[in-house]
């Protein structure tokens, strides 16, 4: 951002309306001394050690970018979760995960508002989001034929739609398996 402003002679009035305290910039030696003192006074050292396994075994929160598809068009960019794009026409391939320098990052509502011409949203249910229920075949057929990019939303917010899971079968519905017979 170009934020350089060359000020006029009016500056002294603004800068020194209240006489400020001026000090010399801190040196490494001064900070090293503070560092030693701070280590001795560290209140966290008085607490017991963390319980459980080493934290290095815990997977850190992955980057947002790696879990998102990036939509860019006409100087604007917005993120949606992976699996939120249900239909991706090849004509818009250059607008997906192809960030253009100078584009302004905006939130989804603003991006969608300006790009309704080529983006359509499909409101999905919570069960569909979790992969417990399929999206109606007719609707799937319709958006697959659409020339627009289709983004799944839940109450207006883009949402990932998980793959359809096989329903858990009850024990009584389990197919009976035939045990191979063995000769005595």
């Amino acid at each position: 951002m170009k934020s350089i402003l060359l000020l006029s002679l009016m500056m002294p009035l603004a800068l020194h309306a209240q006489a400020p305290r001026i000090r010399d910039a801190t040196t490494h030696e001064e900070l090293a001394k503070t560092h030693r003192q701070a280590q001795q006074a560290n209140s966290a050292q008085k607490l017991p050690e963390a319980k459980g396994p080493d934290l290095s075994t815990v997977k850190p929160i992955p980057d947002l970018i790696s879990r998102s598809d990036i939509l860019t068009f006409n100087g604007m960019t917005a993120l949606v979760p992976k699996r939120a794009i249900l239909n991706q026409p090849t004509a818009f391939a250059t607008r997906i995960n192809n960030f253009q320098q100078g584009s302004q990052i905006v939130r989804w509502p603003e991006f969608y508002e300006k790009n309704r011409g080529w983006i359509t949203t499909l409101e999905v249910t919570r069960a569909q989001v979790e992969g417990k229920e399929p999206i109606d075949e007719k609707i799937v057929e319709k958006y697959r034929k659409s020339s627009n990019l289709v983004v799944a939303t839940f109450k207006g917010g883009p949402v990932s739609v998980m793959p359809l899971r096989e329903p858990e079968k009850k024990e009584s519905e389990q197919p009976k398996t035939i045990q191979p017979t063995t000769k005595p």
């Binding site: 934020s3 350089i4 490494h28 900070l31 090293a32 209140s43 607490l47 050690e49 960030f99 584009s103």
Partner: protein, 346 residues
């Protein structure tokens, strides 16, 4: 299940605060467990930050993690920084981590390498009793640091490489304040440290329910270096006649939110003296990362109003006060002495 009863006031405040110099955009991502679906809350730009909101996506039985991210474009590269995260689930302790520094100009907590900061950890929902699982009795508080390297600004660093400095157990429902007089980012010259420190609270794994170790809350503070600079074009003790020479100001690691300038006053250098700003020497920054600049200053004779000994000081004003980066004292004598005699001839 009803809409998630988590108040997202803190997140919403951060998400809707005026973006710093239009360089950051904040987003809230909700991750559902155990399914793994992800949801972006449709936060409008005109959202009232004083009005607490609820997530529109109900929380799954395994809980949900709310992540507050800030995004920035640096050239053709997108950068994302996790500002804060909160994990919410049934019977799980709830924690918050809030970092405060003297710099209130940025929604992303930040400070300078020579300044203190404070971390406030609040834990609620801890239980006690012989039959209570360990995961409900305590949480772990961790402190990680990571250097951005020389000249680095934290773009696309691998945060899995952060170094754990400490890990402690918190067993009481209370506010736990931690004061840090100085940063812990590894650096040969402590004034030139660039990096970040992350403070996080994790739950313990619950053997009974199978709940894994989860980050309940966490926040990161950025540490930026102390600026340095020099005035060239004038030397200490130099005698000047007539016009003042062109000055070259070399400015390194200027704090992202700062005003840097040269002030002039009559007499020798005395720290604390308030003078007048040399015209054309002031530089105002409202950035997200430290800046280096070289400024040429010319035609500033009006700053030196009379003959005698003068001092120029290079100052930088930041949220932490005013620091002197350099100074030079010189003598100026603009007066002309006319020596001669006059005679008359009849």
């Amino acid at each position: 299940m009803k809409a998630s009863p988590i108040r997202l006031l803190g997140f919403a405040l951060l998400a809707t605060a005026p973006v710093q110099a239009q360089t950051y955009t904040n987003l809230i991502r909700q991750v559902q467990f155990p399914g793994g679906s992800e949801y972006d809350m449709p936060v409008e730009n005109n959202y009232d930050p004083n009005d607490p909101t609820r997530s529109l996506m109900p929380i799954d039985p395994g809980g949900a993690r709310f992540e507050l991210w800030t995004m920035r474009a640096s050239g053709a590269t997108l950068t994302n920084i996790l500002l804060s995260s909160t994990y919410v689930a049934t019977y799980m302790p709830v924690a918050t981590v809030a970092i405060t520094s003297e710099d209130q100009t940025s929604e992303l907590p930040r400070t300078r390498a020579d300044r203190p900061f404070r971390v406030m950890v609040n834990v609620i929902g801890l239980l006690s009793g012989a039959t209570v699982p360990d995961a409900s009795k305590s949480v772990n508080f961790y402190h990680h640091v990571q250097s951005y390297g020389e000249g680095g600004v934290g773009t696309n660093i691998d945060r899995t490489q952060a170094v754990q400095l400490s890990g402690n157990s918190l067993t009481t429902v209370d506010d736990h304040p931690f004061n840090y007089a100085i940063h812990s980012v590894p650096s040969a010259d402590l004034t030139k440290a660039r990096g970040e420190e992350r403070f996080s609270v994790y739950s313990l794994a619950d053997v009974d329910s199978g709940a894994p170790i989860s980050e309940l809350a966490g926040q990161t503070i950025q540490i930026w270096p102390v600026a340095d600079g020099a005035i060239a074009g004038l030397t200490q003790g130099q005698n000047i006649k007539f016009r003042l020479p062109q000055l070259t100001l070399t400015l390194n690691d200027l704090y992202p939110s700062s005003t840097t300038y040269v002030q002039a006053y009559k007499g020798p250098a005395v720290l604390g003296t308030v003078g007048t700003v040399v015209p054309g020497s002031a530089l105002v920054l409202n950035e997200s990362v430290p800046q280096n600049r070289i400024l040429m200053v010319d035609n500033y004779d009006e700053a030196v109003s009379e003959d005698g000994q003068w001092t120029f000081e290079l100052l930088t004003s930041t949220p932490f006060g005013i620091d002197r980066l350099g100074h030079v004292t010189f003598n100026i004598n603009r007066s002309l002495d006319f020596r001669g005699s006059s005679t008359t001839i009849e």
